[in-house]
């Protein structure tokens, strides 16, 4: 068996074990442990996605989805893992949009776990219709991104000094898989009274 297959089986096995511990932590109301488990599991998911992206086998299964559901689900899920206030705003969201929900969830989860590290009190997850684009955003009230990371993200390297490179690299790959009518999805990082991560997906 080659290393890649072995790694995939191992990740699978590890996630199964993590699932069992997560249920226990959740039943005991142990938010901190739950967060540790789910965050570790999310990083395993990214590792596997990275491997697929490198092998050019990371494909998007694009279908009609409800952005409000995703935003809501993420807020509920993350809300259980922290004492910060996590709110969801889908008041400006389109009813339906076309994207791969699993990949988009992976990207937003990564941005959320980053925000959890830096936020003071609040994190807002939102979905807004921006005229032919759907904008998902994760906004926190922390110190913001370092200046060199701001703006539209291009050509990210998978590993950077502070170790957050893989998430952004994948976010960019996932955004690029969402193409339609000559437009391609993109990632934007801004400081607007805190860090704001945006994923823009074309109609």
């Amino acid at each position: 068996m080659d290393f890649a297959d072995l790694a995939a089986f191992t990740i699978h096995d590890a996630k199964n074990r993590l699932a069992l511990v997560a249920t226990r932590a959740e039943a005991n109301g142990d938010a901190e442990t739950l967060r540790g488990i789910l965050e570790s599991s999310a990083s395993l998911t990214r590792l596997l996605a990275y491997y697929k992206a490198e092998k050019e086998s990371l494909g998007a299964e694009i279908d009609a989805r409800v952005p409000a559901d995703l935003v809501n689900e993420l807020a509920l899920d993350i809300g259980k893992q922290t004492t910060l206030t996590i709110s969801a705003d889908w008041s400006g969201a389109p009813q339906l949009w076309f994207y791969d929900e699993n990949l988009v969830r992976m990207v937003l989860l990564n941005a959320l776990y980053n925000a959890l590290r830096f936020a003071q009190k609040n994190i807002v997850i939102s979905a807004v219709d921006r005229n032919e684009w759907l904008e998902f955003s994760i906004a926190d009230d922390g110190a913001g991104f370092p200046p060199e990371q701001l703006g539209e993200q291009q050509n990210m390297q998978p590993v950077s000094r502070d170790g957050t490179g893989l998430g952004l690299y994948l976010a960019q790959r996932v955004a690029a898989l969402h193409r339609n009518a000559g437009r391609t999805g993109r990632i934007e990082l801004n400081n607007e009274g805190g860090a704001v991560f945006r994923l823009l997906l074309p109609q």
């Binding site: 699932a19 997560a22 959740e26 039943a27 494909g59 279908d63 409800v66 809501n72 699993n102």
Partner: protein, 540 residues
């Protein structure tokens, strides 16, 4: 005050081979207030539970021990209609897309749930899916019944409302248009969908519709570009393979299915498709190779299919290994109790036993094959029974079955080829052409005779003749529509007779399902209208 959970009445089945996972899911469901939870650790028990109860939700782990996975389980449940469309099927997996592939839309789970997940995530997902099923309830129920015009109507209502289920309704509507025989409308509908967004399922739908409307080139082109965009869309390979096969391009067909097998080596459907193509070209070593895989994977699984064993047995016999075939077929007969008298299995066994030099066992097997009667057998099985008759020296019985097959579909040249092949393989090559021609001539004579009687004013006699023929050959749409028309014309001319009208309507419905585009159907509808106005006027 006790709070009643909205889920206290939602019935859920959990299928997972790991005991800890089962109890973990169970406790999550309990925290949501689900009280009706059944739990199963293996496919066999889960299958029994599904046969005995209706579940609102099935949570099934993708990796199951015992040679099956959740996708195979779902395909089995859906293909045999063990669960209806109103049941939510959620595939639980630690990894989406590691080796699972997109199969036919019919057999896709309603959703995937990635482990680990919180009870809240489970709750919001179930909420979402149950709400969706509620919205689609009418369309789903009509789909389960095969009432496609009603499915289309139900979908159009949702499409007009433009709510969040718009695209779900469009997906169902496209398929319903195809199933209702409205292929031109389906082509147009899918083209509009694709202009909105070229989703893989819409491209596949377009290819299906083009195929049925006879545009093979358009269909193949659509599928080829779909496969480039979505290489994991297995249904695209299946359809492309079938289209190549229909155009007589067996090598192309096999090449397409082989490439699908490389992507999805665990899929039983692909191996079966390869076997079908190879059977048609007489390449029995390919058939053996493909079906051996299927039989090996399903031998000890409750999801096994008796016809795989029968077809493998046939391939072995054809390859000159009747002894091996007998061994396999006897194993199938003795271990699959409920299928011991399966006509295909028995027919194939009769040939194998005969060739293995055991005529007595061959005769017994043939008796089993024919004991349920041969008139209502599906084409493939009827051919096998005819072959068994010829192989065991019962030439008249064999020829009668073949004749009826030809007369049921006098224009199906593909079938006539198969009929000729059966005769040729049994040393009756010169009979082949004769039998096909004779069978067709009889049908033409029967039709002419009925027309002659009708012209001579013997409407009742003409109708009786055609009714007899239609009952004997329910698959011959021309005869069936003529019978319906003759009955109605008799009523129109000679007076109301509710029994005749009922019979005419039954024939009309049967023809409608078999070939909704048959030209005679419009004449029947028109005559029905004339009858209505004639006798309505008479009453007042």
């Amino acid at each position: 005050m006790a709070i009643v959970s909205p889920y206290s009445n939602t019935s859920v089945l959990i299928l997972d081979d790991l005991p800890e996972m089962r109890s973990s899911l169970r406790s999550q469901l309990a925290s949501l207030g689900c009280e009706k939870v059944s739990v199963s650790g293996n496919v066999k028990d889960a299958l029994e539970l599904c046969k005995q109860n209706r579940f609102d939700v099935i949570l099934c782990d993708f990796y199951l021990s015992g040679g099956t996975d959740g996708q195979q389980f779902l395909e089995y449940l859906r293909n045999r209609r063990i669960i209806g469309r109103s049941t939510v099927f959620v595939m639980v997996t630690a990894e989406k897309g590691y080796d699972n592939v997109v199969t036919a839309a019919e057999c896709l789970p309603d959703d995937y749930l990635l482990k680990p997940f919180t009870a809240d995530a489970l709750k919001s997902r179930i909420e979402r899916l149950v709400e969706k099923k509620k919205r689609l309830a009418k369309a789903d129920a009509m789909q389960d019944k095969g009432n496609w015009p009603e499915v289309i109507a139900a979908c159009e209502e949702i499409i007009a409302a433009k709510d969040r289920h718009l695209v779900d309704a469009m997906r169902i509507k496209g398929n319903a248009l195809i199933m209702a025989g409205r292929t031109e409308n389906a082509v147009e509908f899918y083209q509009q969908m694709i202009a909105m967004r070229p989703m893989p399922w819409a491209q596949l739908g377009l290819a299906r519709a083009l195929h049925l409307s006879g545009d093979m080139t358009g269909g193949k082109n659509t599928l080829q570009s779909l496969i480039i965009d979505s290489p994991k869309m297995m249904a695209a390979y299946d359809l492309l393979g079938r289209m190549h096969q229909e155009s007589g391009d067996h090598d192309e067909a096999l090449a397409v299915l082989d490439s699908a097998c490389e992507i999805s080596p665990n899929s039983l459907a692909r191996h079966r498709a390869i076997a079908s193509v190879a059977e048609e070209t007489g390449d029995y070593s390919r058939v053996e190779q493909a079906l051996n895989q299927v039989v090996k994977k399903t031998r000890n699984s409750p999801l096994r299919d008796t016809s795989d064993f029968a077809r493998l047995g046939n391939a072995l016999t054809e390859m000159g290994e009747p002894g091996k075939a007998v061994q396999l077929l006897e194993e199938a007969r003795t271990s699959f109790k409920e299928d011991a008298n399966n006509p295909l299995l028995s027919a194939v066994e009769a040939v194998a036993q005969q060739k293995a030099g055991r005529p007595e066992q061959a005769a017994q097997a043939l008796t089993r094959a024919m004991q349920g009667g041969v008139s209502n057998l599906p084409q493939e099985i009827a051919l096998a029974v005819a072959k068994a008759c010829l192989a065991t020296g019962k030439q008249d019985e064999g020829e009668n079955i073949l004749k009826k097959l030809v007369q049921s579909s006098p224009d199906a040249t593909g079938l006539h080829g198969k009929v000729s092949a059966v005769l040729r393989d049994n040393g009756l090559a010169e009979r082949a052409e004769q039998l096909v021609a004779e069978s067709k001539r009889e049908i033409i004579q029967l039709n002419n005779e009925a027309v002659r009687r009708a012209r001579a004013g013997q409407l009742t006699a003409a109708a009786e003749m055609l009714v007899e023929a239609a009952n004997r050959l329910p698959g011959n749409v021309q005869i069936v529509t003529n019978a319906s028309f003759a009955l109605l014309f008799d009523v129109y001319t000679n007076g109301l007779d509710p029994a005749k009208i009922r019979m005419a309507q039954q024939f009309q419905q049967s023809a409608q399902t078999q070939n909704p585009k048959h030209p005679k159907l419009a004449e029947i509808t028109e005559l029905m209208g004339r009858i209505r106005s004639k006798y309505a006027a008479g009453k007042t």
